[in-house]
Amino acid sequence: MKKHFLTLAFTALLAGSVFAEPNDTIAKVKASGSITMGVRDSSGALSYTLGDGKYVGFHVEICQNIIANLEKAVGKKLEVKYTPVTSQNRIPLTENGTVDIECGSTTNNEARQKQVAFAFTTYVEEVRIAVRANSGISAIGQLNGKNVATTTGTTSVQLLRKNERATGVDFKEVFGKDHADSFLLLESGRADAFVMDGQILAGNIANSKAPADFKIVGEVLNVEPIAIMLRKDDPAFKKLADDTIAGLAKSGELAKLYDKWFVQAIPPKNIKLGLVASEATKGAWANLNDKPVEAYAKK
């Protein structure tokens, strides 16, 4: 009996795809009258919480534009539910329908494209190095024998590993459990550099006790297209999202939104990140596409 049950459970697990329903988000939200937006607690200015169940940010605001167009398409007002997601659960939750549209800081890559779809890239992240201003470090080559911090559960860890293998620069990696922790490693001197997405570095420095003590230096280690994530095999909803982004890009609204979140002072502390749009980000707006990070590496 017990054995039968186990076999059954296992078969159910393996056959999960058999029960998958066709993905038609537009029909789904029309029937339910509500849409669930996946958001992040602290993904820099892309998506973060003000507390009290309120979520804001560059990607959240783009998603609100998409939902406004979705409301026109279904012909009624939709209730928007916010579900906080993490890097660990965002893909399963999008796949299984808990979240209809994920507006966080997800890198578009080939492995993920097998599981989910991405709207047009709206932000291109550049991986950079933050150091203490008095350290004298200005390039990755100077990190030989130094401690380099990065955050567990991010693609930067793998990037460092590849870089170390390719260049022969031998540094010791230390891992923070989240970005705040990694920054603490740098601040407390346990690490000499913090390698991470530029906007996260800028955000941590802007929020630190003495922002002038830190600076972002060196070459761009990697570029990653960051995009809004949708369910796979749902062409109608993807077209709606892409068209919305194309409309925003054409009218110049996208650049204004970027300016609002990344250059001007943002809530809750009214701190300016002062991160003007990079050439790569502007390029993505000029030639809208949903290419994965692998396509960027080939250039």
Binding site: L13, L14, G16, S17, A20, S87, Q88, N89, I91, P92, E95, N96, N109, A111, R112, Q115, T152, G153, T154, T155, V157, Q158, L159, R161, K162, E164, R165, E173, V174, F175, G176, K177, D181, L184, L185, S188, G189, R190
Partner: protein, 244 residues
Amino acid sequence: MALEWQVFLQDDGGGRTYLEWMFEAWGWTLSVAGSAWVVAMVSGCLMGVLRTLPQDTRLNRWLARLAHGWVELFRNIPVLVQIFLWYFVLPKIFPSMQQVPGFVLVVLGLGFFTSARIAEMLRAGIQAMPRGQRYAAMAVGFTTWQTYRYVLLPIAFRTIWPPLTSESMNLLKNSSVAFAVSIAELTMYAMQVQEETSRGIEVYVVVTALYAVSAFSVNRVMAFFERRLSIPGMVRAADVGAGH
């Protein structure tokens, strides 16, 4: 959402497969837990004994107070907070600690946290024995050391062995906090690899299985010693539970 187990054979970008990396991570988990267990047993047993010393001399009274303080200090602070104190706060106060590797700090942190719990178990084990045992040992002229070595501890350890088994298994599972201070153990491996490969379910299934296997092995080893240590004629839990 089909499962793809071949994800473990992919290269991680640094010239090893995710499978190889997983075994390294498992090794770190076992090393952290194993070393912390030694620290916990040594300091826990010492503190447990000190708390039960006869209160006849000034020195013994001070030692008992010291052990009491130790226990309260380490069991009243959450283990993750203790790890952060060891890693971030103490080196601020004592700059030389900055050079101590994270592994040593996490072993001390986990070991001392667990030692407080072991000390309390041992105290309970010793105090559960009839007072006559101690008096008898004193009556035949044993020193305090001999009383503990030949009379009290042999029985106390046998009494506390079952909860000590649970505590050892807990220690293994608690070792997952080491990821917070940059030890590349299994929990960190799981968090990192699911991000790199996007195959979180496969990774967590295997890592969960490794934790379960490791904890169960600890259980079996402890159970083996429990059987070997049992004294014929002495009441054992297994002998009185026949009513179930």
